[in-house]
Symmetry: C2
Subunit: 326 residues, 2 copies
Amino acid sequence: MLYKNAGVDIDSLNVIRKGIGRHATKTFSARKRSEFGLFGGIFSMGPDILISSCDSVGTKIIVACATGVHHTVGADLVNHCVNDILTTGALPLFFMDYIGFSKIRGKIIVDVVRGLARACRNEKMALVGGETAQLTRFYPDGVYDLVGFIVGTVNKKNYIDPAARIKRGNVIIGLKSSGLHTNGYSLARRVLLRKYRLSSYIPELRCSLAQELLRIHRSYRKDLEPRLRYVNGLAHITGGGFYDNIKRILPRNSSALIRKKAWRPLPIFNLIQKLGKVPEDEMYRVFNMGIGMCAVADEKHLRHFRALRPKIIGEIVRGDFGVKLE
Amino acid sequence: MLYKNAGVDIDSLNVIRKGIGRHATKTFSARKRSEFGLFGGIFSMGPDILISSCDSVGTKIIVACATGVHHTVGADLVNHCVNDILTTGALPLFFMDYIGFSKIRGKIIVDVVRGLARACRNEKMALVGGETAQLTRFYPDGVYDLVGFIVGTVNKKNYIDPAARIKRGNVIIGLKSSGLHTNGYSLARRVLLRKYRLSSYIPELRCSLAQELLRIHRSYRKDLEPRLRYVNGLAHITGGGFYDNIKRILPRNSSALIRKKAWRPLPIFNLIQKLGKVPEDEMYRVFNMGIGMCAVADEKHLRHFRALRPKIIGEIVRGDFGVKLE
């Protein structure tokens, strides 16, 4: 099975995003710093740069609704956004959320926000507001969409500009993910729910399917914050997997070689690949495969990352082929 | 008919918001300036304060989907957000959008963003990014939800603190709305679509129902920006109508008296009230009734507003009764 068969068409999404980018770039002034399509929006303000990002938890929300566990998706959303702006070197300032629904128990919303607020506290960020919107007869009963907006800040001199920092010969450090994070759920559910129920205990996973699918998206802030000066580029492995996300930070005439043998994918990914007969390449295009964040660094700085037990999963090489997994 | 009958229960939404607020306030640090529940999130950054807000266009989106006109809701969203932060004296810096859908033509999304981008340009703000999320089998086919996130800034000395500025005897100036703006659509559709089609020409409105319902939410930024120093408080009349929105800016022991006779509601509101047999009080609790923004000012500064052809719709009086319409 391909991601497309599960209803998500990354290629046509990319065409849409190009159309969007054309309109968006018309709104840029001198204070808007960079290209449309990076992980975070970038805006200059004196010596500091404001970095913002917007995300949802995608169809992971369906798992939350099916199991009745709602605080975890709140934390997923916060951590996803934190990781996105971290790629520029930015640390969190504040967060807002949107919850859209038609008919839902109030307790569910409060649970979501409890998870959001706890994660915001962990990330030292204020949850400054949000919108709880009831849209009559629009959403299916009992479900809701959840969207997060983050604003962070980085001093100009600490801003991570991968185009300027990344050099050929740099190593690519892979940091472990906690599971699917918030990507590939349409494909994962399609494949897994043909055989299992959410409540099924799965020996390979040593937990129930629901527990595995609701694992909270890991935040890399605590681990990376003290090491940002040694980082030349960060790629948060989300929708688009290794290909689209690492490509975004590659300088001209530089490409990334990733050695798949350098780490062992988490059991959940093996299970999805086997059950769904998903081509291996498609797996690395959709999922994080156990590596949720890639940090590009000088080999001589590797010792600063040792405490994180990093996997050296690849390197930056000459060439224009983009991202190659071997 | 009441708003509740159309599926929207403002009271229980307010209970939910209280639950949310309890969790959110736990994330506040010294840099987070004010109470949860204002129009915009507030965050100190040096001499400037960042003001942010998050909103959707609610079920106005259903009208857009039914008519195939999508650029207007993009502009609605931007202008709604601009007005929200304007209430603190803040001017727009940047904007992000979220579009969630399951199955939709790509052109629709590009249309939405075209409207967003044009409105951002008008408001001198950058559309720095956003998220276009395809959630398989979650949204009904052909529809999407649209969420906007704005960040603006105001210098500390220009920040409009209504608690400090508003005095008894101040007048309440009403600024005209362009129509329903983005509120009360669940009730409006329920009432109007019993009798009319969206394509029906309605003599009282001098246009089709679709044209009336898709009128773009007016931005008050251009009119109010040069006059902000004469403003003691601003209430954007959105969900919750006159009651909830004006209440938010009232200082202790001060209340607002609104004279309904001071202006003539737009024909669309008369039509909804008549057709739906909606109690008059409910109308002023759900809709803007033709007044989209209320500015509180010293009577002696009224001349600065003259060019806007303002309606003096009420005043600030002693008492703790909140907002009273007579």
